[in-house]
Symmetry: C2
Subunit: 155 residues, 2 copies
DNA sequence: TACATTTGTATCGCAAACGATACAATCGCC
DNA sequence: GGCGATTGTATCGTTTGCGATACAAATGTA
């Protein structure tokens, strides 16, 4: 492909990636509003529902988010009483993040959220094969880019 | 898939989409820094390089960005003398955005940017077929979600 | 002309996202 | 114990992204 063609918006890979990511967030927002959480906060809950009581860095390693992004985000979640933050006793440098009763309960209302993406695509639904190929490519890119971009979390 | 399984980070589609999008931005950042622009500013330039002199709303329609996001972004680009903003004479409600000489010149240095994504994936490169399938799925999602989420630009 | 409606742009406030940097606790070594 | 290095957390400033809202110009109706 020539330099000229590479700069056409239509030929970009980065733009539709960026746009779809934002559109998914927009699709989820009304549902997340009902739970009084934001999209990154929902991701934090996903991580904690899977494994409770993790350090800030552990959460960041899974979500590829820096601590300076997570700290204020977690503080807001603590204010809403979704999580608790306590210093670890064995290593007091660490802050352990754990779910409150309220945070655990939200899990029951959560399964409708990933389903909203499927529902939002009803007009032209993806085949199971298409979804699998898409997911595999995304994870391939995730791994490749994790090592390319400045590694922070032992990548 | 059961409710429990749907909430595993591994089974999410939204998370890798979100993460890869951020990683691509991170990959581009050092290159964009050399041009003294940010990632969304780069997208605006892509649009204007393709067709100069467009209204704020026209740009927003292509990038799926609201005017309240674009206005301050374009003001910063105007300060850097990459673009000019002038009221349209036929309809003074519209603000026409056009490239300056400086903005046009940047196009020559830009082709290396989309190539950085290919280069950043060298460890486990995608096949041409894989890229095509990925792009097709992304555009399919883009169209489906554009009609699902609150349409603003006549979608 | 008067006035409401529509269309388009600008402003404000909040929540990310991240680089740079400061700060605190711990660990290793002596 | 003392002290520098390491590790982890918190703060600051800038840029996006968007809802809500204010404002300006054009349009429609009478």
């Amino acid at each position: 492909m020539k330099g000229e063609e590479m700069l056409l918006l239509e030929n970009q890979l980065c733009f539709p990636l960026y746009a779809v990511s934002r559109l998914v967030t927009q699709l989820y927002t009304p549902l997340l509003d009902q739970l009084d959480i934001t999209y990154p906060q929902y991701l934090v809950l996903l991580v904690l529902w899977e494994q409770d009581s993790q350090s800030v860095s552990d959460i960041g390693a899974q979500l590829l988010l820096e601590t300076n992004t997570l700290t204020p985000l977690l503080k807001r979640m603590e204010q809403k009483e979704l999580i608790q933050r306590t210093r670890a006793t064995d290593d007091e440098r660490k802050v352990l993040v754990s779910l409150t009763t309220r945070g655990k309960k939200l899990k029951q209302k959560a399964p409708c959220i990933p389903q909203a993406l499927i529902a939002g695509m009803q007009d032209s639904p993806l085949t199971a094969r298409e979804v699998e190929a898409f997911r595999r490519t995304l994870h391939k890119m995730l791994e490749a880019l994790r090592s390319s971009t400045a590694p922070v979390h032992g990548g």
